[in-house]
Symmetry: C2
Subunit: 327 residues, 2 copies
DNA sequence: CTGAAAGCGCTTACAG
DNA sequence: CTGAAAGCGCTTACAG
């Protein structure tokens, strides 16, 4: 059997109460007793049972993290940063990959509730959100509007969309199309499209947006891209809403013998480490992934601590244009 | 306050025992009572506290997952598959990104123990392994030899290394170098190098291996690659031990005006979805990431269930050559 | 078919 | 400075 606090107490010749106090640095303990208890813990190889502690304390130090999938480099990196920062602050991360599927999102939110997480960071649309509200669990969203009371953290999507579109125009593109996420989802990422449309209009151009379903299915993305090239052979500029889509556009252009950047200029969004290593030629808008993670956690932990200083409902973090060879 | 089992009991006019039995489908319960209890759970918005259940049952259905970082596409995809399969089997995943750092690995293993995980899947060298042994916690390793008793799952590294090297030779490369992980780490991935060296010798060539530290630091990788090109200007074939490194080799070749594949042929390892989307030109050896995840979980859960049927100490899953344009 | 009681492994208020 | 007792929210063996 695993040693319990009682075993430590016996080995140290004290009561469980005393062991607990040593463990939690609470109340006065003579130095001698303290050292004796530590020795006993080593001796019996004791690891405190966090389940029991959490049950009593009503605090697990567990954070639920819901992303579409860590397979996507943006979310893989975001997950890394979130977990890393959480750990440095004494929190643990329960990971959920929802693939943006409603059924999975609902099951995850119930699971997180049952497991008594102290808070949740949500990077999906999460329609299971009702569960959270009912239990008023602290929640912070990344790039999604979930409700009036849930803070949103993300990159400055409007600026990013503006920079991308302006760059293509400056570079002389005459026929620029945007490949974006589904319009009906309420996410600040739609500001990338809004900026694109605003800038296009400002320059007297006709904005054309193709929607890519948020299923992370390369097949489906491929279909949309082929359609785009078929329907707009005059195409000479593409602003893609993420780097993977931009890469697929490059591949399609290559297949059709369009030279990059002469015949066609392409700019992406995200600027992940992985993207920069695997496709360093791609011009893109870089999101500050580490800062997004840090900001989301900061806000979440303030809610957990019930510090009701006015929390910003939306935080838009500065993006950076990485100008490379595809524009 | 959150509703507890007692609140449900009151709302249903039964005892907590009965509610618990409904919850766990245990013993005989009249249909009427059962429905009444369900109604009461809905009514008071009840979510069972898994902490309390786990404390009693001595089973958390929690799996610890330790990877270097989900930022790396191989581990990002592996993490996705592991979490996904775990969820489908009723398990939850506590995520740990160790960055291959000893200090972090040790803290994580203690944390996982304290949190009473049912088992651990380790994709790092994990020198905190002692902790696990002491508590004899079920562990499965991915591509790492941790101890005699810990099953290892991975791709067939030797075959992969052999296929890669043979391809470069077939394609006429005269001067082939291998970029591999650090030799001192005991990982089956070293069979990639072993295969490279064996095949080179078989063809009367001199094997040359450069070691890349496993720190996931692009700067350091860059340095090694520059050194490689400086010291071996005759270089016309590279077998890189992962796709990110292969991409950096391509970038360096490009910088030096070496044409791909004419002047230099490059093959990578991993063949992730992300890699195929961002760098579809790259020839590589594809690991069956989903199968690795599935196999590791299968074995782990058998250990958790204490089914001591002979478990294979090492499982080598078939790889696939994806021949593209860089060779 | 259902309930009262004990216990999972901790922590803390209270008493000494 | 230290201990005995009650309680965190469940589950199950036992009794009825």
């Amino acid at each position: 059997m695993k040693p319990k606090i009682n075993d430590v107490a016996k080995a140290a010749g004290v009561s469980p109460t005393t062991v607990s106090r040593v463990l939690n640095n609470r109340g006065y303990i003579s130095k001698e007793t303290r050292e004796n208890v530590y020795r006993a813990m080593k001796e019996v190889n004791y690891y405190p049972n966090e389940l029991a502690r959490s049950l009593y304390n009503k605090r697990t130090n567990l954070i639920g993290l819901v992303v579409p999938t860590t397979s996507n480099p943006f979310f893989g990196e975001l997950t890394f940063h979130i977990e890393n920062i959480c750990t440095s602050l004494g929190y643990k991360v329960l990971l959920c990959n929802s693939l943006n599927r409603i059924d999975k999102e609902e099951k995850y939110s119930e699971m997180l509730l049952r497991n008594q997480v102290d808070g949740v960071i949500v990077g999906t649309h999460n329609r299971g959100i009702l569960h959270y509200h009912k239990q008023n669990l602290p929640v912070v969203a990344i790039d999604h509007y979930l409700s009036e009371t849930i803070p949103v953290v993300g990159s400055d999507n409007y600026s990013g969309g503006k920079m991308a579109t302006e760059l293509l125009i400056e570079k002389g593109c005459q026929y620029i199309v945007h490949l974006g996420g589904p319009r009906e989802l309420e996410t600040p990422a739609n500001f990338r499209r809004k900026a694109y449309e605003d800038i296009m209009k400002k320059y007297g151009r006709l904005p054309i947006t193709y929607e890519i379903p948020n299923t992370f299915d390369p097949q489906i993305q491929q279909k949309v891209i082929e359609k785009l090239f078929c329907e707009h052979p005059q195409l000479d500029g593409v602003f893609a809403s993420d780097d993977l889509i931009a890469a697929s556009v490059l591949a399609e252009a290559n297949k059709r013998g369009k030279a990059i950047p002469n015949d066609l200029k392409v700019i992406g969004y995200d600027g992940t480490e992985t993207g920069q290593t695997l496709l360093p030629q791609l011009t893109t808008i870089q999101q500050p992934i580490d800062l997004i993670a840090k900001t989301a956690i900061d806000i979440l932990l303030k809610k957990v601590a019930e510090e009701f200083e006015e929390l910003p409902h939306e935080t838009r973090l500065a993006v950076k244009l990485l100008e490379r060879k595809t524009t």
